[in-house]
Symmetry: C2
Subunit: 150 residues, 2 copies
């Protein structure tokens, strides 16, 4: 019943340390805003990318919608159709099941920030990574929307 407020400056930001191509993510910081205020149905992450950093491996989701809104700076979207430069106020949607693998990279000389929203679908979800050896990965989310380690 309590009021669930958060302040961006006081929300922990974590650096991603993935096992694949970790060099792409050195300047990537993420604050999990939705989780901080108890949401389970979708995630809302505040993303900071220092110059040269990527948002993720290039991927698409079978069952979960994704959305990104640029808050500051410039960021380049890379998808099956090439490169698209986005600036503050620009946004992009990735509907579930749209087989158009995407990620974002900061090719500018300053930091960029964005809000990223994604459904947290209970049960099984398959994510495709066409550029990488992992191919497709099936993950499992529990009833609170968190990933369950199998």
């Amino acid at each position: 019943m309590e009021t669930r407020l958060g302040r961006l400056a006081q929300t922990p930001r974590s650096r991603t340390e993935p096992p694949i191509k970790p060099e792409l993510f050195v300047g990537r910081l993420e604050a999990q805003l939705g989780k901080a205020v108890g949401l389970m149905q979708f995630g809302v992450n505040h993303l900071t990318l220092e110059p040269g950093s990527y948002s993720s491996l290039r991927h698409w989701h079978e069952g979960e919608d994704e959305f990104l809104f640029v808050l500051s700076g410039e960021i380049t979207l890379i998808d099956d159709h090439g490169e698209h430069l986005l600036a503050a106020g620009d946004y992009v949607g990735f509907p579930a099941g749209m087989a158009n693998a995407h990620h974002l990279v900061n090719r500018s000389s300053g930091p960029t920030t964005a809000l990223v929203v994604g459904t947290r679908k209970q049960g099984l979800e398959t994510i495709h990574y066409p550029d990488d050896d992992i191919g497709a990965v099936t993950v499992h989310r529990g009833t609170d929307g968190s990933r369950v380690e199998n």
Copy 2:
């Protein structure tokens, strides 16, 4: 398969004209960003409130999570626990089923803007409006996440 990009300045903004207390919403403008790029599982709306305007009637959702992130200006959250002043970078979550009715009002002297995210749950959803004669309203969303008029 196409790239689904949007630019905030080019996205249509609509003025709400609700049947109840329309005077609260004269300076409320909303751009439906998620819908503009084909998302169906959650909505992402860019909200502008001129001084004195409200976001909605005070309400809470039985089955849908809601989230708000302040982009610029100041905005006052009103819920069961009183008033809470929010500024740029502040955010608030309203988990589904949390019976803490809320809305936001701009009591400042300039406009405020925010991003509002909400689940678009297929099927029936009940929304409670404790301050108004309507009480509780059950709505129906179709498979594309849009409300179906019954």
